[in-house]
Symmetry: C2
């Protein structure tokens, strides 16, 4: 075990990684398994690197139970580039796509798609400042839509779908799972496409995972630039050009860590425990802390909450930082505080935060 | 100094990094300068990370002497995504762009731009299998072109421009400098835009540097997806969304290493020495080794060469690998061998290769 300084890291992303992953990467930095090179120095077409990327994909497939008729791509540009790419690839000319708008990220996905073609908002929660999620009856879904897009967990607003809504027969479901990817078991077969920026639960910034059902690749139109063309990228196994090799290597190490831990059911249990600790602290504070999300929409990954005044919120962030609790300032669009409690955050860090919250309230409440 | 195994790394990219850069990254892996986090775990909007990206940019500006009216962007998707983005951003609707086609990479850049609008090949060296570069008189440049694009150094064919050609007044020069970026001093002011995938001389795969004159940002059309829009990306200082944080951190360490070494004039001298050693070995082999590139077009970064038979070439690669000389197999489109001798390759590695070449010829020639 390392004796270096490590803080309690509540960053929203990029965010905490398992310490054992970092230690492994550190030990292999100058010489990966006796090959005399860093992973950063390897040809992406070498046997060593092929094994790294293929093992990362195989472990991801095993963890999520990805059916064989789905392709896994390791791309660049973050979820934000996917907002445009998925519309370019999956919405045929003249067709419309439905967007379920439940927070900043699904709104941005919608706006990006709207630049390039027809869209509809099947739901828009803006009037509640995205504090709740739609019931089935709140959705007006277009049975002719090329797809319906939603965001499984809104990182900024802290709302997370607990069960998926029903969609009209023949409409594909496309899901931005960036901030709760790999936090819990998922039935991939329900989705036409899932995508996720890695920098929450899967690895470092700089790689985006796309999981897409093979038959949807037939929708890709002619003459897309190669780096925006799912079909070409899928055919090359993410190796059309040089991929973000080191970021994918770290993703592979995170997959091993998750498997060793017992996979998604095991991490889900841990995540529920951490989220429970913090929501309990909020709910038992007599209103001193109050969550942004409606209780039935609460995320197990991102907990945005407010306090009685902005001054107290500032003081909280400042004192927390002194106590090595970092990354707790909320996003400007919601304000207040936000605790992001991703997979790699130890339960102990959630306990330390809860103790800090209680002590802060005792002294200042 | 480290005592781990390190090979002589002639990879074409991703490629060798300075050992001191890797050692620094290794030492900071779990705790960057006492902040209790890896660089991979930091918010891209934290003070610590802002300092990392801003220092990387400032050092790059200093090394290349980038004028203040140029923006520096750290993007994703490799040079291949830039092939499309530069055409989307810099070629107004209805306008044509000129392409000087001197090898695989400039050809691919041309094909990508041709998908999206009008292009002309101002020169095409395909008939010589891209072994030479055009003289000024070989170019048929369109005075109305939105820009003329060329590749400063063709990684596969090993041809490198020694002096730039003249272009008609008002035509912007756009240059793919991926594989000789930072290998020698450059007059940035001659270019409208320079871009380079980092994974040769600037850092690891996963980040692409774009240097663009500010006034050209006015050409960006409306309604481009944000991640494809130079104007938006420039306005945000490469922080519109999460950048490839760790790759940029490594680029920053490489910039420090280059500065400590004496900057681009110093590394240029070292690069000329390494290239000289290898070309001398080729020229003094009595034709046993023969370079792909015409002598006046020879690259100081990539040296593709052939041997009397494919069997000997295979044997060479195999025996070289046993002697810890790796990455010497040529690209399939040229065949034979290729020694990529980027900035971070020590002169000693070039000497070891030359000794190996001489010994191989003595035994098998």
């Amino acid at each position: 075990m390392s004796s270096v300084k490590r803080v309690h890291n509540f960053n929203a992303g990029p965010s905490i990684l398992p310490v054992s992953v970092l230690e492994k990467a550190q030990s292999e930095m100058l010489d990966y398994q006796g090959c005399g090179m860093s992973v950063m120095e390897m040809s992406h077409r070498s046997k060593e690197y092929e094994s790294i990327i293929q093992t990362a994909e195989a472990d991801l497939r095993e963890l999520l139970g990805i059916p064989t008729n789905y392709k896994v791509l390791f791309l660049q540009g973050g979820a934000t580039l996917q907002f445009a790419m998925l519309a370019m690839n999956l919405r045929p000319a003249g067709a419309s796509a439905d967007y379920v708008v439940t927070g900043s990220w699904s709104k941005t996905a919608w706006k990006e798609a709207a630049k390039l073609g027809a869209t509809r908002a099947a739901y828009n929660g803006e009037s509640s400042n995205y504090s709740r999620l739609p019931a089935q009856g709140d959705l007006t879904l277009d049975p002719q839509a090329a797809y319906v897009h939603f965001c499984h967990n809104e990182t900024i607003h802290g709302v997370e779908f607990k069960k998926e809504f029903e969609v009209p027969a023949g409409v594909e479901v496309v899901c931005d799972m960036s901030s709760d990817f790999l936090s819990q078991p998922v039935d991939v077969s329900k989705y036409g496409m899932i995508y996720a920026g890695a920098q929450k639960n899967a690895g470092p910034a700089g790689v985006t995972v796309v999981i897409i059902r093979e038959d949807l690749l037939a929708r890709t139109p002619e003459k897309l630039p190669v780096m925006l063309d799912y079909k070409i990228l899928a055919e090359s196994g993410s190796l059309h050009n040089t991929p973000p090799c080191y970021a994918i290597y770290i993703v592979g190490l995170v997959m091993k860590w998750l498997k060793d831990l017992g996979g998604l059911p095991a991490i889900h249990k841990i995540n529920l425990e951490k989220a429970g600790l913090i929501y309990d602290a909020i709910d038992s504070s007599g209103g001193y802390y109050h969550g942004h999300a409606a209780p039935d929409a609460r995320s197990i990954m991102n907990v945005p909450f407010r306090m009685p005044s902005e001054e107290l919120e500032e003081q909280f962030v400042k004192e927390a930082k002194k106590a090595d609790l970092i990354g707790l300032k909320g996003h400007r669009s919601v304000g207040g505080l936000r605790a992001s409690i991703y997979n790699a955050l130890p339960v102990e860090s959630a306990r330390v935060l809860v103790d800090f919250m209680k002590e802060f309230q005792r002294k200042n409440g």
